[in-house]
């Protein structure tokens, strides 16, 4: 795992709650709002299960910590989107809280309901971008959520041990967190 230069993180006291909201003006209509909200909810829950940070959706876009929107081309941050495929999304390091997705992509939440060869899994990309918002940069571990690329119709939304160790280095561990990796570690320690 890799941090951003200077290792920025959200600096509130633990356990912390971060709010997020969707831009009403910058939204896609190929998926329902319910599908989008549920995909993001699952993505946020993954990170919240390993660190003492919780995420709550709010309606006030201006006052929220994390602002989520779908944008086309040039959208004011100097990093224009490039149409179908290429760049899928980008987001910013703590505590900027902006998560932008390319509105031109064929976003999907269930590949069984689309035959498009360029369909991109929204939940996987959301999970990756939330990692950036929390302070993780790109990992060289191909199985990690924070690996920078994702093929169309692929899904990589489950946190890898590399992602978990990285984010826990920034925020500590969720007291309720117990991973398959720690169980394996316990078992081998007991056998030893």
């Amino acid at each position: 795992f890799v941090f951003f230069p200077g290792k920025p993180r959200w600096s509130r006291s633990m356990p912390m709650t971060l709010t997020y909201a969707f831009s009403r003006e910058n939204m896609i209509h190929s998926l329902s709002m319910k599908e989008i909200r549920e995909a993001f909810q699952r993505a946020f829950t993954r990170w919240a299960s390993v660190i003492p940070v919780s995420f709550v959706e709010v309606s006030d876009f201006e006052l929220t910590d994390i602002k989520i929107g779908f944008y086309n081309g040039e959208h004011g941050d100097g990093e224009p989107f490039d149409g179908v495929l290429g760049v899928l999304a980008h987001s910013f390091s703590p505590e900027i809280g902006r998560l932008h997705l390319d509105a031109a992509e064929t976003w999907a939440v269930d590949f069984r309901s689309t035959t498009s060869e360029v369909a991109v899994d929204l939940e996987s990309v959301a999970t990756h971008e939330i990692g950036h918002l929390l302070g993780l940069s790109h990992s060289s571990v191909k199985e990690a959520v924070m690996y920078p690329s994702l093929r169309p119709r692929d899904k990589r939304a489950d946190l890898n041990i590399d992602d978990i160790k990285g984010v826990q280095s920034l925020y500590g561990s969720n007291p309720n967190f117990r991973s398959e990796w720690s169980l394996e570690s316990d078992m081998s320690a007991n056998q030893g």
């Binding site: 951003f4 941050d77 495929l85 760049v87 899928l88 990756h128 571990v141 690996y147 920078p148 994702l150």
Partner: protein, 121 residues
Amino acid sequence: TTPTLAHTLTQSATKIAITNRNIHSLNNAGRGTKITGISQFKRYLHRFGYLQNNNISFSDEFDAVLESALFRYQRNLGLQVTGKLDSNTVSQMITPRCGDPDTNTTPHHHNHVHKTRLTKN
């Protein structure tokens, strides 16, 4: 001879335009080779933080700077480190990705992003 890529090359820094029959000429390209279209790989590597260039114009020569950037890119992305535009590397480059640069190679780029956001805020 200078092989020519038989297609219109994209000007986008984030997309690599390539066809199967071009892979061979790129795969054999090494330092000193000139192939039309190499500049798109330089532009891509610059965009994602692997190649420094203040002029933002790129030649089609496979030079030492490109080779060095490829070494870093391949190492960083867990690819076999060849310093060449081999098929695995090109395949990785045409795979959709996150727009954030790979920061551990060029910390200054993200500093720039920080500055931009701070100014806007």
